[in-house]
Symmetry: C2
């Protein structure tokens, strides 16, 4: 494994790159948080030093998203996949027949559907398997009609493995729209009032791994099935402001600094602008090249995970190895998909993508001569 | 709130004090872990840099506990309370009548029982409520007889709120003994072969908050109820070596350094020796004093959470405030119990207890003159 005296360009799909100023703050105060006499790792989740951190984190998120007042912000242990179980456990009973609908546009949607089926009649509403998940289904009026009576519609807003993203969300009317926004939360401006529930684990755009944010419209609280473990009940967590038991103090603490950094950069609008620049740079080069290949349907291309491939396995391996050596890290595609995956989350600087495109150009030229 | 330029003495019940050399290592390599080009917070749980950390953590724990080969080491998101649900979900079906027994010796036992009742006929086997949880029940042969047919016996090995601890575990024979060892794991030498399952969240003796270690005898895998969320199924987590989804990379990483530090100090035997010294110092003073009061039954006194009180509420408040001011932190008792709680986990140095006893002596003298 190549070693680097300095920080390299980190295209990791998650846990992902964090803003350097955030890491520097964490490092600086790691032994003694703001002179409280202890590390942030050593203080109680009910302490006078932590409670303002939790509060500020929630306030910052509300500001950044202009979140309507009737939404609650909850934190749950674990990653988004724990919500694959929590969502049906908490919402299925809203339908008399425990029925829910799932748009399956990739692996995470498949796994979410599987957990939905554990607790009720979760149905695959639309899917993109025939196209190897390289496009987002085209939703027609009759598809929306079929949602009637569902407890909710669940979809994955961005598909990390396949590099597709929902650019327009279905207008589901009375049926709450539930989205797994793990990989694109705060990457673009979105009107949260169109969602019933949004969840995202922290390790892409919000902080380190181990905690999940759940943003839920308050009328959706209080419907959990009796077999729901106490710590997966949305209402129970809301009633204690996510402090039912020891929360992952460190993750919330890092998240606060990440959100503060977004604010300083100009908020979500500024993040989106830079994300569009980064993605355009890479997609423009992919469109221009006959060597690097991408099969994602252009209107559905993800802003944050750019998937492509090379003509042969040998060239792919060589490319990935050369990238690693020059400090363009973690570009290997997901093991179930292969190829290259460049994850361009908020904290990844434009320079990183410029370097990657240079490397691609250089590699292509050498390979073709 | 008093501020401290240097680290103070931290008696926090959890998240608790960590060894300073561990924090210094974390701080040093926070921006670039071992020259991999990224922070430990920014690398994949499947990366070549993280996998050895997970492996070493498991190996170190096995060495420190001399764990028999037929036990598996699993990691679960969240704290011990998530296991209050996971234990019955995974083990109840071992009894034909979904019956389990709970020894209730404090608040955590009460909450564990409540979750057990959610999934089957969980029964309170013995309890200490009449004595305000200030003693551990005396187990007789006929009590053990009553366990027959139970899927398991659950108990809390140390009761953080009430300062009691099981010094001898019931010999449950065929019925697996399940213990919540969150607050005393690795604080004393224990023969793990007497347990079916041991769980402990990290934030006392193992690392930061947000992750729980589950040590389970391999014949107890594979019995989960159908309604068990995928990520709470012991067998599913075991089959993927706890990497089913993104693990809390940072918590495992800190845990490795904590376990390495224990090894360097002489292992669990050395920890136990120092813990006994610390506890003796404090209990000896309490026994000698007529001013500071403790009502815990002496044979059941906890080595790690020492609970005591002062003659009046005013004196209690004054004592706690003076302690804070001189850098003896987080001594306030649990809100449901009141009084003083001094938590003496592994990383708390003997000096801290010496300072506390000095302070108590000084306060008592002033109060009585």
């Amino acid at each position: 494994m190549p070693r680097f005296a300095e920080r390299a360009y980190n295209f990791s799909p998650g846990p992902a790159v964090l803003p350097l100023p955030v890491l520097e703050k964490v490092q600086k105060e790691l032994l003694n948080y703001r002179e409280c006499g202890a590390s942030i790792l050593e203080i109680s989740h009910r302490s006078k030093d932590f409670l303002p951190i939790l509060d500020e984190t929630q306030q910052l998120f509300r500001q950044l998203t202009q979140l309507p007042d009737n939404y609650r912000l909850l934190f749950f242990s674990g990653g988004a996949q724990m919500q694959f179980s929590a969502v049906p456990l908490n919402l299925l009973s809203r339908s008399a027949s425990n029925r829910a609908s799932y748009a399956v546009t990739g692996k995470w949607g498949e796994l979410a559907l599987e957990e939905g089926k554990r607790y009720g009649s979760a149905e695959e509403w639309m899917h993109g398997r025939e196209d190897r998940y390289n496009r987002i289904p085209n939703v027609q009026a009759e598809d929306l009609e079929r949602l009637k009576g569902s407890a909710y519609l669940h979809l994955t807003s961005n598909n990390t493995l396949y590099g597709t993203q929902w650019n327009h969300f279905p207008q589901t009317g009375e049926v709450p729209l539930v989205i797994d926004a793990t990989s694109d939360i705060l990457s673009r401006e979105v009107d949260f009032s169109q969602f019933g529930l949004v969840y995202a684990s922290l390790q892409k755009n919000l902080g380190p791994a181990g905690l999940t944010l759940v943003v839920v419209r308050d009328d959706l609280l209080g419907h959990h099935l009796p077999q729901t473990p106490k710590l997966l009940q949305y209402q129970a967590i809301d009633s204690q402001n996510s402090l039912n038991n020891t929360i992952n103090v460190f993750a919330v603490y890092v998240m606060r600094y990440v959100l503060e950094w977004y604010e300083e950069q100009g908020g979500v609008a500024a993040m989106e602008k830079q994300n569009r620049q980064k993605a355009k740079l890479l997609y423009d080069y992919l469109d221009e090249s006959d060597f690097f290949l991408t099969s994602v349907n252009p209107p559905d291309r993800s802003l944050v995970n750019v998937i492509f491939n090379l003509p042969t396995t040998e060239l792919l391996q060589q490319f990935l190895q050369e990238c690693e050596e020059v400090g363009l890290l973690a570009l290997k595609g997901h093991r179930e998909v292969g190829g290259v995956r460049a994850s361009l989350y908020n904290a990844l600087p434009l320079t990183a993508v410029e370097r990657l495109v240079e490397k691609m150009r250089d590699f292509e030229r050498k390979a073709l001569t």
